[in-house]
Symmetry: D2
Subunit: 378 residues, 4 copies
């Protein structure tokens, strides 16, 4: 009858079955066990496509042993594959190669070493590099280039010019990095010059553990593409605990016409990206709203009832994605009771006045400017 006295019955565990098996007929030559081993498959990141575009997951900034990273280039492909990314760029420093006593290479080697693995894993691998200078102008990634070697040059402006000549997409990295801009995140005259020359197309709004809200405003004003990149140097799992619920590396969502290098390039130049780090989404308002609408399902009310003498309706909101949305009613001041938290793969029930057809909610974990949250209506 499975009464409370069963509480302490010792579990009949799998462990036992295995032991019992061993006792009877153990293979004494070789036993395969794989304790605590990870499965070697690719995680499906549930982030929906939006109208007309495929949503690709990208990381456009990472290092290998060929500059100051700690892993072999192929590892970057395998990590990306496992985590469900679609597109990556290996962007080793041109100017900083502390392992060069033991690593013999030109600046294309990391890409070339990883390329075959990327093909085999169906990962889009971009040839890239990081131009690594003091501030100003700081660090820049050049992507979609043909040959990194000619970009080595003492003059940073010449470097950017050469990258641009190769048709590169160029982004300014970690503009608010504490080591280079300790006090505040400044746009220097030199950046205006670079922008005017057509040598800067995007900027990192977030890099590893930092994010710079003011840079979102720059993106709007100066028509720059938004990036959130990992800038990973160690093995990815050394820095991130990806076993935590909803964990993922900082990444850039790319809304592309197709899943190809060409598709990514067109999307980046067309500024169709969002930064995705922690539970936050940052970038152009319309893309955030499109993604919210593609993600969240507002069901028809399943019940009506009365609360404090007023008719209310009960509604299920579903979020079957790996994104998080936190909503606050627009007219209200963010007091706790009005917070609606739509966690990944979760559903909640909200109760609203029966005569309320639609209402506005601010997405307080999403940012379209340093002080702006997109507003959804449903």
């Amino acid at each position: 009858m499975k009464t409370p006295s069963n509480y302490l019955t010792i579990r009949i565990t799998l462990i036992f079955l295995i032991i019992a098996g061993s006792l009877n007929a153990q293979d004494i030559n070789r036993i395969v066990k794989n304790d605590y081993s990870r499965s070697s498959d690719r995680k499906i990141l549930h982030i929906p496509d939006i109208q007309g575009y495929e949503t690709l997951k990208g990381d456009f900034h990472m290092h290998t042993v060929f500059s100051d990273g700690h892993v072999w280039p192929e590892s970057r492909v395998m990590e990306a594959w496992r985590e469900g990314l679609d597109v990556i760029a290996i962007t080793d420093h041109i100017e900083y190669r502390p392992h060069k006593d033991h690593i013999v290479s030109d600046h294309n080697s990391a890409y070339e070493v990883a390329r075959e693995k990327a093909l085999a894993q169906n990962i889009i691998l971009l040839r890239g590099t990081e131009i690594t200078r003091d501030m100003p102008p700081g660090h820049f990634n050049a992507l979609f280039i043909d040959d990194v070697n000619p970009i080595e040059n003492e003059d940073p402006m010449k470097q950017l010019e050469e990258a641009a000549r190769q048709g590169a997409f160029i982004l300014w990295n970690h503009p608010g990095w504490a080591s280079q801009q300790p006090d505040s995140t400044i746009w220097w005259d030199m950046h205006t010059e670079i922008l005017d020359n057509g040598w800067m197309h995007g900027v990192e709004v977030s890099n590893s553990g930092e994010w710079y809200p003011i840079v979102l405003d720059w993106c709007r004003e100066k028509e720059l593409t938004v990036f959130s990149n990992s800038d990973i140097h160690a093995a990815i799992d050394f820095d991130y605990d990806l076993s935590l619920a909803n964990a993922h590396r900082p990444m850039t969502l790319v809304f592309a016409k197709d899943r190809s290098q060409t598709g990514v390039k067109e999307a980046l130049f067309s500024r169709r990206t969002l930064g995705f780090f922690g539970n936050q989404l940052v970038g152009p308002e319309n893309l955030i709203l499109d993604l919210f609408n593609a993600s969240v399902i507002v069901n028809t009310p399943f019940m009506e009832s009365e609360r404090k003498g007023k008719k209310v309706k009960h509604i299920e909101l579903e979020n079957p994605t790996d994104l998080t949305f936190i909503l606050v009613k627009d007219e209200e001041n963010g007091k706790n009771k009005d917070l609606i938290e739509l966690n990944p793969h979760s559903e909640i029930i909200i109760i609203i006045p029966a005569n309320e057809d639609t209402a506005n909610y601010r997405l307080v974990n999403c940012w379209s400017g340093s002080n702006d949250h997109p507003v959804v209506r449903f």
Copy 2:
């Protein structure tokens, strides 16, 4: 009064506090977030010392980009430090260096690159190498050597001779590896010759995901030291999910007179080691028993009662360590009801006849031979 109607109150979360803060006075230059980041500390592995010896945690087989591994040598030190290991050997292949087009080194380089980091993290780093030959004789690790380079030689016997000449401790790696001994785990004549020459002192009873019970018998018969090593090539967290409860890499426990390279060497040559992989401990019976006795606390009975007309006493067993012990009463046949599972950092209550002073239990997850479980009495 916190009645059931509170069930659905939306949580007042930290997330809210942070958002609320942001709304009021967000720093728009730089926000530090570190979502999903791992803390950079060292795990304390609770494995007690035994009478007269410190219990050191070791891994004597691992690779870096200097042979066919995927990480820079310093990463091996940092991984070991994090996981609570005390001693490691980097043992890159002499004969197999697939990255040599880009890596310029002699056979001591990996050790030399990692040495400073090992000092800074207080990790004992042994100079080692893997002699990598077809079967027989297969692969051998040489540890505590002065110079790897002279060990490069076409003749494996000459290699072992040179290692021995340098005072090396030499172990045979993965003797039952499926690729080299697909059908059964065989001791070849060549191994007898090597042993007789004094060129083999230990052997891997377990390597990565494989374990070879018959090799435990060899250790007893031929007086070889027991090893369980990871043979890790990727970043450790790529292959193992160390966030799982009780997870750890395969390791060799070393019972040393002190925590030093000398202490480790003396202990290895004196055969004071146990293999620890999954929840299993394998090796000399006396060491397993010493470790059990240092780990498990049998409290005095806290209660007496009657069960089916017979007096019984209730006893708490405590296991405040990271080890697991699974016990079966010796006279019984391993039926489930008699299984006692002492999980890490756990306590259970057992109920035994009041007149029973001591009883024998087999440690069914510990092995002193291919068919032998140590028996404890309490």
Copy 3:
């Protein structure tokens, strides 16, 4: 430049931000913290609908304090809501009510206490009960009844008759329960009589931690509906660690024309159910195949290459659901290398001969009979 020397930089943690905040302007009246608290939302269980039917998740066997369970009836609704279930039945024992000294009720009380909560959470709550007798005939659940009280009777046959008179769907519970059928899982003459009378419509193929493969054969032969139920007595989280990857309670998948009590009843009488426990799916072959086809995406090959002189193609298989499918090529003998493991929310790459159009795979973690695995072709 984020060099290796950054390895040990102490994390700038959220903890710090909060502390720093506290130091400056802590509210000394009340601070809300919610450490380790769980979010109060409903998990979306990703199990797709199949052609023409909604896939509902059900548990048709559970207890409360009104018999020998440990929780108040409303808790069963909240647990089910959280875990993403759609339909439950509270089935307290008629004959075994160990708490009756303190609980005053008739046999409908548990249902009545929970009903309002079920409405508020949009959970379909069935009125049910467990007829609790020695073997034969053992225990039976009656569902969809109007009034439990008249089912109290000394004669089990009269109990079943009364339940049937009320239009009940009746299932035999845990037919292989070790306490009642210790040696083998037997179908008694009395069960034939019950079946012939039309008083048995389904049977538990799995109950809590047990499953009975032979009962799957009975389901086929005797046209019985397949069930897998939790029979939970404690709080669900006391017995199950639902924080583990892919964890869920044992449940019965119901393929219903709509999400309503009527829909469930029609589906149960029409035998459209599967048992889902651990990573296993058991029940009618056609339903397993429909569910596989609704779950798994076989992409067109993304690459061709050569392996050992033969052309092969590389194909991504996606499983964006919470189900697991483990496949073995039909003609082969289950040797490890041929095992294809499609974990939840995962994707793998398989490599097959370029000229192979389709192949048969057995779903070795799915069972349509005690010895039968459905075969898929793709």
Copy 4:
């Protein structure tokens, strides 16, 4: 040679072994599986004893179905046992019993129902109750009483008087509870009267998800014992995710002369307690310091080196407990770089000037007053 091409080798999993076994010789009568089931053992909470006292873990505030809780009283014992608690009090409301239509009891029943289970699990179970009144005076727990029934009375002062007459230890619950003291946490005249009458001995500084720093000051000024209690109504695992790293319910640490009801009573009346919630410890400074000193091991420096031209020494700090300590150098202003985070079961390395013998550190996650952190010196 375990080259990178092994990356994608499909895991040989335990799953396979089980399947393979099943294929050959499955028991078709009954298979035991226990997927996702929890082990039924008691967690050892590593919190060290301090000089002269045993450190007991207590929770002195919880509810059952006998008032407005959701579980049967025995469940409170089992939960406490599992989590490593030593002492609990079931404190059902006298005045609020929403289940009374179905629960027939006097006010001692919950205690009496749970007592036998407490004996069997070696948990110290106190007879208690919650006097449940509007503010003032709010809610009070009376512990160590002989009979709850006479405490039922319309006049709260009479209730407290009767409890005191029975020798009760009386604490004021959640003095800053938002529902009763929404704006600030006020000490009313009535509380002075109660205190002066000798009817209040302790107070909750923390209750479930709230903590009230100002109440720590009251404890110092008015010589009250510090409590942190769960006030749990649901099953504990419904409200807390105890599978998270370092998770535990809010609890009160009791420093007792022995592990007995008498020992606990003496310790409570002697004010030897600390509140422990999240990673915070709050209460008398001397107890926090004693606990810090019993927990943290400062090793002798293992290395000296130079940093920026100055000699420094490298020291390992070990914290082999389940407590957390976060330290900031006393003279400094809490800037991030000086934060030392000693997580549970972790070790860190600090680097300090070679000529620095000792330094002062504030324990910023520990509180001895609403604005006071104890300072340690090492």
